[in-house]
Symmetry: D2
Subunit: 342 residues, 4 copies
């Protein structure tokens, strides 16, 4: 059994990792840390887990001794420091924050107000599994993608690697459940504030924008810019991204074939037939992705709709998927959690 630790186990991505890892046949959780609740049992914080595991503070020596792999779900900057140390001690690291996602430290510095410098032998890779599977196999550190970028990159990858579109600007209008904000005590995420509200925030200036642009530019092999409007909607889980591109040079049939080919062997990605549109409800609690394409022929505009569960494929599920790749497990192991419906 591979020994895994979860640092930051009591946030929403942490507790979702615990849900998935407990059922994973190849791993054993050997370390759970929590800054706020160190010393308590997990079930005192989350009675639904029914587990007696002790929550510990982060002691790097003990972590290194107890684990083969750690998932870090920690504040910006902290993951970088802890992850770097643990990687040097020989552990595999999958970080669910942004500290290992951005290739350019100056971009990181601008958006996260912190300085980082990746050491040369870090073998860091951006963990969008479907796109970087081969590279992940040999990585030491995986920067697990953000929730919005996951939904957008999977929606755009086939097109940007093709010749059907030569543009440079993508419009992304994304709607997210509130769990994306994490387990927080801010008034703005209180039930009474969120219920009956659709609320845009950080329009065109959300931190996931540079992450998307980095990856889209690599996919297209030219600079691609994103006009990004994130919005909170009154639900707990799920992201629905609507993506708009103009001047697409292909028929809907060609585009559907392109996408179906691209994702033919992917277990978690599903391209819907013409006329069907995804719902976040179809992925609730699961690692699956539904994508549909709509071509407005009058204007040459392509609409791509992409639905994920922000806490699974958008965070902890993809982290487990990356672990499976890192350790040579079947990629689906521990991820056979079907969506609950309704």
């Amino acid at each position: 059994m591979t020994r895994v630790g979860v640092l930051g186990a009591t946030g929403y991505t942490g507790i979702e990792l615990v849900r998935l890892l407990r059922k994973h046949p190849r791993v054993k959780i050997t370390y759970l840390s929590s800054q706020s609740f160190a010393g308590k049992d997990l079930r005192e914080v989350y009675p639904h887990t029914r587990h007696e595991d002790k929550l510990q503070p982060v002691d790097l020596d003990k972590v290194a001794e107890a684990c083969d792999l750690v998932f870090t779900a920690l504040p910006a900057g902290v993951s970088y420091e802890i992850g770097t140390v643990l990687a040097q001690k020989g552990l595999k690291v999958i970080d669910l924050g942004a500290d290992f996602r951005l290739d350019n430290p100056s971009v990181y510095a601008k958006w996260y107000n912190k300085e980082i410098r990746y050491s040369d032998n870090l073998r860091r890779i951006y963990g969008l599994t479907e796109l970087y599977r081969e590279e992940i196999r040999n990585a030491k550190v995986v920067g697990n993608p953000g929730c919005y970028p996951t939904s957008v990159l999977l929606g755009l990858a086939p097109l940007l690697k093709s010749d059907y579109w030569n543009g440079t600007v993508v419009i992304v209008d994304a709607k997210s459940g509130v769990s994306g904000a994490g387990r927080t005590s801010k008034t703005e995420y209180a039930f009474s504030e969120i219920n009956e509200a659709v609320k845009p925030y950080k329009v065109v200036s959300h931190r996931h924008r540079p992450e998307m642009e980095q990856e889209l530019s690599k996919l297209a092999n030219r600079p691609v810019r994103v006009v990004f409007t994130p919005q909170l909607v009154p639900m707990t889980r799920g992201i629905l991204s609507s993506i708009y591109l103009s001047e697409v040079n292909a028929s809907l049939k060609e585009l559907l074939n392109l996408y179906k080919d691209f994702y033919r062997d992917e277990y978690f990605v599903h391209v819907l037939p013409e006329g069907a549109y995804p719902s976040t409800k179809w992925v609730q609690g699961s690692n699956h992705v539904f994508i549909s394409l709509v071509l407005d022929e009058r204007t040459g505009t392509l609409v791509i709709l992409s639905a994920i569960d922000n806490l699974v494929k958008g965070a902890s599920g993809q982290a487990v998927q990356n672990m499976n790749v890192l350790f040579g497990f079947d990629e689906r192991e521990g991820l056979d959690v079907e969506p609950i419906y309704p």
Copy 2:
């Protein structure tokens, strides 16, 4: 007191009209019709109204005798027939459906599968109050705008009447509360299906698209096309439309000034300061509209965000506003319903 009737009083727009008209100091409800519940009291259908008013079938002679004005909230085609007859009998008619919105009968026929032919002396006008106030004063029949078009047209009118944008394609990504589907028994609108779901529908082919295009083209004085993605979100009331335009030739400051000037004297329309974004929660139950502008300078893309309550400014509230214009009342009368918060 002006005598008003509501034909189709037990749908959601009908019952919202009743809420507003009861408190209106200048009018008296003299006729309430319902096909499904004729013969019953209104409070048997909606106990919260606490009113004993008898719901009647539609008898055009009785309606004509009892009313100076009727609001029609009836199925497509039915409003056209009834509204035409009542207008010829000298009543004012405000229709909350689509039967009097489209200038071109062949467009109506295409989207609604019915033939209509406006009589010459109908003096029909599209009832976006802020844009057609003067024409409404002399109308006989008002085609009250759809909910999505209201949010979009108010968001775009200042720009399309200006020289700051010369484009022809607008992208509209709109999120609506479920009450927009009316009081319906379809399984797809059941609580268990809607909760925890963001669900696009009729992407690029919703009936409100030709309505928007008609009005935007008139505003711009050139053909304008709309790429329109409507989406249901798990809330009861509210529409948030995100509107995207490329190649806008103005600074954010110029744009904000343009909008503030345009709506300077409008009681119900509010242009937010830079950096503030509207929420549907701010308009819940009220006739107000909040608009904000965000300019992505890197790409020249303008993002316009527009929030309304679909049942008030998007339907029954605007209908009352139009009635106020038609009869020379203060435009705010009966509409001093503040949003409930939270």
Copy 3:
């Protein structure tokens, strides 16, 4: 115009008072205080209000000069101190907290951990309008009832003043929308924690229990005890209290007659016919109360169901109603806010 102040204007009961008072034809808001936001404009905190009013710190001399009446929506103990001073300065005071509700200071001390001592000439009265209307006319200070007690006392008053029940124990199972917790930043009220959750809290030991027992014992003229289970449900507004009493000596018909007689002249209280049950949705945003009675003849158990909007009849609406009584206005003024539906 009567000059009124709201101390604590940016909590949910404060902002609901502002909504109601703005439309009240007899009063003018002359003072708005906020500890957290003093110095800001109200619309910076709540853009939906669209008002430029300056939020001020509490300066008792200024308040006394500016106002004839103050509503206090302040923390426990603070209302007591401020309210006592302002009452001595000759202002009328309506407190929305618990500081003026309990007759027995030792009960207050036990449940609120603070010492209070009402001065002799305070003319303090418990502000359940329908029960204490006459006494309120001459009060200086009104202790506005809690939300749960309002729903329960109105549901029980006719029975407890009758001879139909001689018991001493009442079971109250109450479900509340989350706005009852106020505008708070606690994690437990975050959307993601509340959504899809029914959660009991403070079972049999909620602070509203002694308040209910005080008033029920006065109504019955004997000690009455309440087994009280409050529960949060995933909605913003509304309380539905289910009340159970055993050994009721009357037929349902007699009970319904008793209740209808008791509330015959009450504008805001509605006794439903046999077989109809209230919904919190019927009172959303309004000051109305719906009550129904169900008699389980097999067991002699009476079930009383009572629905209110916790922020209106359960707080700010009843406070305005009490103001109307205090100043001799029509009791309905400022309270003609119909529920929004759906």
Copy 4:
């Protein structure tokens, strides 16, 4: 592999059975029927399932040939007829409706308006697994309990089998998510009607009352009556039952010991420590049950709080649990679905 069929696969309990059975290591789904959608693929009705299984009409000969066990999720009366035939053909039958729950056909006739007569060799048993495990092993037909009764019986069983309470009347105030109404197109379950509503229905006269009374009376060995108030709350899944009993002759400590002993070996039932109360959110999507006890010593009233997921332990999960017992599998197989949180 045991071959199982689901008759009525497209209702909510049917689709939940499919979710659980697909992951069950010992069974294979060999028959899926749907009256409304026969001839279609399952994924046309529920795209989230991603399965191509053909939905068939009910052909009893084919069912008998294809299956060792059938789950029937069919209308009242239909399950009785089909289940009886299939049992006679040698299949095991687990019915999720009420047709095999009631011992007394005249009680069934009264509440369901249909005549049934159990054949002598049916070996029918009421499928509350924790209470009837031994009997279920030898059953041919299992009447799977209703959702409300499951939550109530598990909450009361230890007490009613003890000497701590000698009463005959139990008050049950239960709150249910809307999925309990099934996949329905009735207007009253539309999102706009349910959102922001707590709504009692069928107070003291719900069909689950005789089912609870039958089982409680057997547990107590004396007639027990239930005053039952079911209520819909705005959530999809979950039941929270609050149960009230007067004159309980035990301390809280004794009661907690009683319950902990009773459920000591039960994997799915959890008795909470003093002062902790269950939430429906803790069981979302899982087969677990949380129970807590609160004793109001002043009045001698015991409050029992019991939370389940109505579609899992309250329906399809318990059906799988019963299948496991019937076929001698580990009772937990196929049921290791952890609750999703948040």
